[in-house]
């Protein structure tokens, strides 16, 4: 087993990885940028190396600097976390060249799965269902029409050169195909200079379901069930849960097997996540493989009691998987809410700043993976994730109430967070029914304003706190300058 690991990441995920390292008796090296000198992940490590300025290219994305730090400190392995260099094949290769173990899949698998066309071809060759569609553009309306019939309506016309929704049309009725084709072609030509289009199956309000897999170096592979990640804003997940209310044991097994086929097709090793879209008829389609630890991995840990970071490290160090598929059991329901520094009242714009007060929820079935502390200033340079709140309970209704209780206990003052927003979404009738899809927030919670049932109580609370005699206000707590005015504040009317 490794003696020392460098964690090439920051924030909550770096802290979380270091916790498992500590439990495994492995020393950790943090890396940090100038903006992160006081960050929590630096406090949790055994050693720390400054990479450079806050810009990711000068710090957390700088391969040379990270490799140099690892060599300098004598790290045997690097855990990349998620984001930053975690899916960078060049970084994985470089680690290999330098004799450092990259805790993740081989560079070849990252490369293959990062190329969407090659990945799609590999999946097709391994009988993993992919979204039906054409692989070449077509301008003959007759050929398009027969392709559309083969794919099955509704279909989506997409610009080959496209992006951003330009040249895109949903066609539900064969009679509308001609008109939509003409519009899409001309729109694409105006936007991209060329009008070529192709067809893909259109999925209406699909669910986003992903399967966690573990593959060791000896070809043994298991799946750890699904995660339902359909609740998204700005195309980014914000609430995840497992099991998914949309899966039964049969569908879970079918998707699990498809996920194992997908990673086997790519020569994958270590922890990975196979993402699928699931339509409302129970058909699922391969989307992509995330060749790293997912943000939402804790919900799988809650219902399986398996520590995924420990598995990653064990696999990277060459150990075989210690359990077989049939030993993996799922107990209860887990939900995760991501706590971002962002404002749900302004379309989730990031709001970094200083955390003036922090109190995290505690008690039965609660887990907090946090990268912040009271007094920490959230830097502007990085992803605004602050922490993740995860709950575990016997069943979905209990997990929902537990999440709502925990969110109500979670106090973050000084910056905007979506805590109150999440409480409302989790308590909504649609979420309770399990009727979640990727457009739920856009359709039902945007724009959003807090209900503010406590405004009057807040006014009285504020005013009462101002009237409290200073000597009582000290309570049992630390005496602060708020209570005991410093000479700066009080000497004004003194005769000196």
């Amino acid at each position: 087993m490794f003696k020392k690991i460098l964690v090439a990441n920051r924030g909550e995920i770096a802290v979380r990885i270091m916790r498992t390292c500590r439990e495994m008796g492995i020393a950790t090296i943090a890396v940090y940028s100038e903006a992160d000198r006081s960050a929590l992940h630096v406090q949790c490590a055994d050693e720390a190396a400054l990479l450079g300025p806050s810009e990711p290219g000068e710090s957390y994305l700088n391969i040379d600097k990270i490799i140099a730090a690892a060599l300098q400190a004598g790290a045997e392995a690097i855990h990349p976390g998620y984001g930053f260099l975690s899916e960078n094949a060049q970084f994985a290769s470089r680690c290999e060249e330098e004799g450092i173990i990259f805790i993740g899949p081989p560079a070849s698998a990252i490369k293959l799965l990062g190329d969407k066309t090659r990945a799609r071809a590999a999946m097709l060759a391994s009988s993993v269902p992919v979204i039906p569609g054409m692989t070449q553009p077509e301008d003959d309306i007759e050929k398009l029409s027969s392709q559309a019939a083969a794919i099955g309506y509704p279909v989506l016309i997409k610009a080959a050169a496209g992006g951003g929704g330009k040249g895109m049309r949903v066609v539900s009725d064969p009679r509308d195909l001609q008109g939509a084709f003409t519009e899409a072609t001309s729109e694409a030509r105006r936007a991209f200079g060329e009008g070529a289009v192709y067809l893909e199956k259109f999925l209406d309000r699909p669910r986003h379901i992903e399967i966690q897999v573990l593959v060791d170096r000896f070809g043994q592979a298991v799946h750890l069930g699904e995660r339902e990640c359909s609740i998204q804003r700005r195309h980014q997940k914000i609430i995840e849960e497992t099991p998914s209310p949309a899966l039964d044991a049969n569908l879970r097994e079918a998707m699990g097997q498809a996920a194992l086929n997908a990673v086997r097709a790519a020569g994958y090793v270590n922890a990975g996540t196979v993402e699928f879209l699931l339509d409302n008829e129970g058909k699922f389609y391969f989307l992509e493989v995330n060749t790293r630890l997912q943000v939402e991995h804790p919900i799988t840990e809650m219902i399986t009691a398996i520590d995924l970071v420990r598995q990653q490290i064990d696999i990277a160090s060459g150990l075989p998987l210690a359990f077989k598929q049939e030993a993996i059991r799922f107990q209860g329901q887990a939900i995760e809410c991501r706590i971002y520094a962002e404002d749900p009242e302004t379309g989730f714009l990031p709001c970094p700043g200083k955390i003036l007060f922090l109190k995290e929820p505690l008690g039965p079935g609660i887990r907090v993976d946090s990268g912040i502390y009271s007094g920490f200033t959230v830097p502007t340079a990085y992803d605004p994730i602050l922490s993740k709140l995860i709950v575990h309970a016997a069943d979905r209704p209990q997990a929902i109430e537990r999440m709502r209780r925990a969110l109500a206990e979670y106090v973050v003052l000084g910056i905007k967070t979506p805590i109150a927003f999440l409480r409302e979404v989790v308590g909504s009738e649609a979420f309770r029914r399990g009727a979640t899809h990727t457009r739920l927030i856009d359709e039902s919670f945007n724009p959003w304003r807090p209900t503010a049932q406590m405004t009057d109580a807040a006014c009285i609370a504020y005013a009462a706190s101002q009237e409290m005699p200073r000597k009582y206000q000290m309570g049992d707590g630390v005496k602060t300058a708020d209570h005991f005015p410093t000479p700066w504040e009080t000497l004004g009317s003194w005769s000196l």
């Binding site: 503010a452 406590m454 005013a463 005699p469 004004g492």
Partner: protein, 176 residues
């Protein structure tokens, strides 16, 4: 005392009855509420409001107070001038007649209604075996004296309320 607050940009007016022996009462939009307040920590309080217990949390930043109560967060701006001591607002503070430390009142040198000059002595206090003198921060008229000889006084308590003269209005509200 009367409060004029901006709560998440919405204006709210309320009045708290401040007699220490009576049940505490807040009047807000025509409704009266009974309340009690307990301080738990530096930033944590427990409010009993109409028989219901409600913990809340406060943090101040510049002129704004962030307040968390029952899962909801409010940003409160106090519209009344410098009612209380707040870190950083030294200009206002310099204009308040309040002891800089726990002290005992020895002598009161002015009476209510009296006109005072800036720097005129108002009250003599004793603390740490030293006598010290509170002076008027600006020209004005004494409208209220809140402490008598022998009283134990604490920082933050306004001991002498002075209505400033026209030309000396800055930073002084009706509650000074």
């Amino acid at each position: 005392m009367e409060y004029r607050l901006l709560v998440n940009h919405e204006e709210k007016k309320l009045t708290l009855s401040s007699s220490p022996d009576l049940k505490k009462t807040a009047f807000l939009e025509g409704i009266s509420h009974q309340y009690e307040l307990k301080s738990i920590g530096a930033q944590e309080y427990l409010l009993e409001l109409d028989g219901r217990l409600i913990p809340f949390y406060l943090a101040c930043e510049d002129a704004k107070t962030h307040l968390f109560i029952q899962g909801e967060t409010f940003i409160i701006e106090d519209q009344a001038a410098a009612r209380i001591i707040r870190r950083g607002s030294s200009d206002d503070l310099a204009r308040m007649v309040t002891p800089p430390m726990p002290a005992t009142v020895i002598r009161v040198l002015v009476s209510e209604g009296e006109q005072v000059e800036r720097s005129q002595a108002l009250m003599v206090l004793s603390a740490m075996k030293m006598e010290t003198t509170l002076v008027a921060p600006y020209h004005g008229r004494v409208i209220k004296i809140n402490a008598a000889p022998g009283a134990q006084v604490m920082p933050g308590e306004i001991l002498v309320e002075i209505e400033p003269d026209e030309e000396d209005q800055h930073g002084a509200g009706t509650n000074l």
